[in-house]
Subunit: 340 residues, 2 copies
């Protein structure tokens, strides 16, 4: 492989000058610059990124930690983050923790600060202690979609107002005349979907609609989890006319459950989710949902991480992503249409 | 950050000895080894992977090039490849080319041989010329799911017998008594799905069933692509009793089209795909399909890549993954059941 020194020799300059030209740094005359670039071309020199990163004291990738790349939301987020990273001259390493804090810790210890100069964390079931240790070693960390803008985590993050997302979904169902609404929560009661469920509950309460624990099910954040929870809920409480799910996957599962129970969506049952993954658009009927700002949050997260790395941002910083938005499709309809 | 030299100083040995202990190389006495490991512990030394990689003349990641991470098959494959890579002590960088050969080329030029010591290529719309250039620079390249075991690409690859997959799907539909079978191909006629379609056609031909061009549609490899193609096909040829799709996504789209046209699956129309992505299991009705060996192919690809890097495998090598297998679920049924 051609080295910097060989390029320098051919161009008749020092290695430092070649380096300055390639990095657009220092003062280099036009003719010298031209000579260096011609030598680079002639010899087919490719700057050795790893070596350059070492020389500059930084590594050339960003890492994205996700809990399960098989959940379709994460590839969508990774796609947006990868685009933003590439635009800023960095590659994205996707690290999959399989919901296992020990795997997450291994990734952090192996790559943070060495292979990757910064870490984006997306619901990766990581201990905050591990993240703080990573920060303490001088590696930038950004939480990607913090669920509670009103309660900053004491760590740089992009916050998304998921309470508002839950509230929007509830408001939509109330506007359609629904009064008996089941809730399917894709996490434990104190888990990552808690804020969404609180927004839903608060909106029902304000409207004077009772929502009792029997109308809620806590389950896995998957189509199958939503299917099982909805089957149970609709069997126990057939008078329910709408289901709010805290994520699109369990909402899609709820639609499957309705189909298997002979209830048409939206005539016999309205279903709404949160996120707006691609499958929400592609399901039959298409899923009404509350879209979260995936693309914007990914771009903001990469920018904040780069700012922390560059030293132009410091300390515990929270940035709030654009507000979630209601997307009405075919899975929600008027409660009055219900066939009895 | 603690350096190798500081560890060596504390342990009273040379840096080379510390390095040998950490890499399990060279002859080091038990007591010395113990002293080095204690010093590593005491100082909290973490081997600097990037530096180590440079010293060893290799970089510590593998790259996986995919054409669209938003297609749910790729995350499933990436998950398996990442697991295999991690087991062999490497991290996986996922590079998304967005079906753009220029982006693929940029990735290859930027990371191959520098950041990544080897490249896995999965339907990434890359020019073979670009891959050969990458090989010529000394970087190992493995094609992950080559579609034609009978026509090796002259490059290391894991081949999957997709002709057999198409044949299995056709055989299943013939066994159910179907004679008018539509085909939806998720690529151009000479594209990556050609072998699957050929297997389908050959099997029909052997059974003495005519399959005419009017019964085939070439479309995009997506739910929406399959939906549009099936709508057109079923409208033009309502006598079709079954649809074979070359991939699960267009097969799922065909089921949506059937629903919108008032045809029940499988009573009025059988639908079968190829791959067995997670959505195939989760759709309603669950999709019959021909499962390809995703996990096995990913593991074999990582192993072959590592062997090429280590020098224990050389030249153009093709390994054939386990045979595709029919998975019968609820979307296919007897042609005799058709309501008329």
């Amino acid at each position: 492989m051609t080295t910097l020194t060989e390029v320098a020799k051919l161009a008749g300059v020092t290695a430092a000058t070649v380096s300055n030209v390639l990095r657009n740094r220092g003062k280099v005359g036009v003719a010298t610059r031209q000579r260096v670039l011609e030598a680079v071309d002639t010899l087919g020199y490719r700057p050795h990124l790893t070596a350059r990163a070492l020389a500059e004291g930084s590594a050339p990738t960003l890492a994205l930690m996700v809990s399960s790349i098989a959940n379709p939301f994460y590839p969508e987020f990774a796609l947006a983050a990868e685009r933003a990273a590439r635009q800023s001259g960095r590659f994205l390493i996707v690290c999959n923790t399989n919901e296992d804090p020990a795997i997450g810790r291994a990734y952090l210890e192996q790559i943070a600060g060495t292979l990757s100069e910064g870490v984006l964390v997306m619901n990766a079931n990581l201990d905050f202690d591990d993240l703080r240790k990573t920060q303490a070693r001088g590696t930038a960390v950004v939480l990607c979609m913090w669920e509670r803008p009103d309660a900053p985590p004491g760590m740089p993050c992009i916050a998304v107002d998921f309470f508002a997302a839950g509230a929007l979904a509830a408001r939509h169902l109330l506007d359609l005349g629904h009064k008996r609404i089941g809730a399917i929560i894709g996490s434990q009661a104190d888990g990552v979907h808690a804020a969404r469920y609180e927004g839903f509950c608060a909106t029902l309460r304000e409207a004077g609609i009772a929502h009792v624990p029997a109308e809620a099910r806590f389950t896995r954040d998957s189509i199958q989890g939503g299917y099982e929870a909805a089957t149970e809920l609709l069997t126990a409480l057939p008078e329910v006319t709408a289901i709010f799910a805290t994520n699109d996957l369990p909402a899609l599962g709820a639609m499957h459950a309705a189909a298997d129970l002979g209830r048409k969506v939206p005539e016999d049952l309205s279903v709404i989710g949160i996120t707006d993954i691609q499958l929400a658009r592609e399901s039959r009927p298409a899923l009404s949902t509350v879209a979260v700002p995936t693309e914007a949050a990914a771009t903001m997260a990469v920018r904040l991480l780069r700012a922390l790395i560059d030293g132009s941002a410091v300390g515990a910083l929270m940035q709030v992503a654009p507000a979630p938005e209601l997307v009405v499709r075919a899975s929600t309809g008027s409660a009055r249409n219900r066939r009895s």
